[in-house]
Symmetry: C2
Amino acid sequence: MTLSILGSVAFDTLYTPEGNREKIPGGSAFYSSIAASYFTNPILISKVGGDYPSSYFKILNDRNINTENIQIDKDKKTFHWTGSYLKNINVAETLDTEVGVLAEFVPTLNTAAKSANICFCANNDPVSQRQALEQSNAKIKALDTMNLWINIMKDELEKTLSLVDILFINDTEIKMFTNEYTLLGAVKKIQKQFPNISYIALKKGEYGSTLYGKKEDEVFTSGAFPLELVRDPTGAGDSFAGGLLGYLENKTITWQTLKEALLFGTATSSFTVEDFGPDALLNTSKEKIEKRYLTLKSHLSI
Amino acid sequence: MTLSILGSVAFDTLYTPEGNREKIPGGSAFYSSIAASYFTNPILISKVGGDYPSSYFKILNDRNINTENIQIDKDKKTFHWTGSYLKNINVAETLDTEVGVLAEFVPTLNTAAKSANICFCANNDPVSQRQALEQSNAKIKALDTMNLWINIMKDELEKTLSLVDILFINDTEIKMFTNEYTLLGAVKKIQKQFPNISYIALKKGEYGSTLYGKKEDEVFTSGAFPLELVRDPTGAGDSFAGGLLGYLENKTITWQTLKEALLFGTATSSFTVEDFGPDALLNTSKEKIEKRYLTLKSHLSI
């Protein structure tokens, strides 16, 4: 009964209007796991190089995140993403990607990782995502992806999508994937192509998110948590998914618990963007997340 | 006890992925008035040229929209906007603007227009908007604007903004106006600069809208009505404001009625985008709008 999370554990170098950071800890599974750790003890599945500092491992272990499924290749380098938000704080521009160890990452899930209740493939190449999903005995399988894989590995991504129950995807990506120009048109096309996907959690950045179920009336929208200052949006989508799935992990999945989970994911990720890297996400608390959850809920009341 | 609406009554020539239309009826006050006509009998304040066909006047009069305050200059041409949605269905690209009669438009409100309960300045130049607001005895004054006026007449717009209670503005425009990059940062700046503005209705196109009051907890977000097909988004924002204010016209304005009004505005404008020009907006009914209102409300329930 836990949540296993596959994805990148990485270095991030960032340029933002609020300042720059070099080789700070990042990665899709890193952010998702920290977000989920407010709700459960996630099992992280990834690979890093010999250059990944023990102090970054400590961040994860201090939060009871199981790191036994993180492979270490001492002779290679950790994935390193360099991005800029200088043109638009809401859109990451990739300046450089050193794939490092993730180029030849074949996940191997131990017994605990395999038997997790939920298996979440945070953004990573669709082949390694599928390898993890195929090993997993999870009741619920979820996946996040990004424009890169839609562009260069769409066939592989489609194979992997046929294995999941919950899809996390952003507004730009779902339009790109489906070649549709309305969000609902894109959602319907995904639902038709992948009848296995029961729920789509559509991420819309500063505009919040919408959850779509299979029934016509299963649509639920929340705004983003209103913030005056956004320092660094890196990891917002990963934290959203991690918080959402972390909240769900010990619950029966119903339309009601999914809606609650979407607000918890939104609340969790709102901390991520308030400071560079994982700093603000690490410094929040379950109580603070719950307070923002209630605020988000009040913004929907009518 | 009615709603007076100042703004353009115009010709629109449109290029969209779903087809093109030449010199169809359009204009900010045209769309707002039709939307509002499902809730009240609005008084339209505008100016057209001798080329404006009586058949387009008939559209308005058939809906009990009072056209006595539409000036006609027989020797000049009606405002004509040519726009394209070919690059992005969600963003209008202006190809040509023939200002025509609106270049020298000085609104003169008759007694009925002056004594309307709500005065709404739909998008138009901020000087004519101010001239209308100064003549109006309305209890509630509302205004919509656009990037053009922020770019070329910001001083005039600021003077006009100091006269209004409710501001309609879109996400791009509010960031441009305030030079802020978060929506809440921009909202706070407007609220500080214009303490007279009690409510901001932030339009976010396909992402819906958010209403901000002055109190910290007065935030209310709705998604757009989910549609698979969008043929022509022209007039969506105008219909949103017209529907919202039309619903409010005979009500006491409270946070609760404003939230309801935002959903009614959203429901009304969702018809506008389903067909070219005002066709779908004209062919809907109060009952259909109410049905979409209830659907939107259900999408918020948790």
